[in-house]
């Protein structure tokens, strides 16, 4: 069983479109995250949710909106896609509060905006 699963694995879309990436974890973790990995392979936090509550919202454009319907899911919706949004997006989860125990990543979603 995959611990943190993301769909889709690949996403190619045109500029201006709206798209969503889904993430689910079956580890019973309390905290979920979205990271963006740019073309230089630098991984940077975008959002973090703890028990469905937004904890971290780094300087991410408003076009990006995370949604956590329950603590096992954290989806990422992107409006009006731009070329610069092309990247690999990783979902992750961890357990506990205050310290990041059991940090587990999904396999990533490669988004290409054309």
């Amino acid at each position: 069983d995959t611990a943190v699963s993301q769909t889709p694995k690949y996403l190619v879309t045109q500029m201006g479109n709206d798209k969503s990436i889904k993430c689910e974890q079956n580890l019973g973790h309390d905290t979920m995250y979205w990271y963006k990995q740019d073309s230089k392979k630098f991984l940077k936090i975008m959002f973090s949710y703890n028990n469905k509550e937004l904890i971290i919202n780094e300087t991410v454009p408003n076009r990006f909106s995370p949604k956590s319907p329950d603590k096992a899911h954290l989806n990422l919706h992107i409006n009006s896609l731009e070329l610069g949004d092309s990247a690999v997006y990783f979902c992750a989860s961890s357990q506990g509060q205050g310290r990041v125990y059991g940090y587990t990543f999904g396999s990533g979603t490669r988004l290409t905006v054309v």
């Binding site: 392979k41 630098f42 936090i45 904890i55 396999s107 990533g108």
Partner: protein, 112 residues
Amino acid sequence: SQELEQSPQSLIVQEGKNLTINCTSSKTLYGLYWYKQKYGEGLIFLMMLQKGGEEKSHEKITAKLDEKKQQSSLHITASQPSHAGIYLCGADLEGSNYKLTFGKGTLLTVNP
């Protein structure tokens, strides 16, 4: 400046050689994760260190967290082409508020 500095940025070694990658923080590390990533693929978890002085090994890869908990090193013994990839350290830093902060990665090439 970067909160977590990795060095070197890239490394080319001959098969069979040993090598070390460092990850240095300006803040106390509460947990340090090492990952490996091959081109176009996801992150492969290598190991996690929490206690100062802790050392873990997996096959020919050993990682240490120094006593003062502000630096970790990853050492590969007798490198093989299969070790090639990008090595990323991610740390739970003092004041981090539930997230891992990553270094910029080290690109390792192992020539046969």
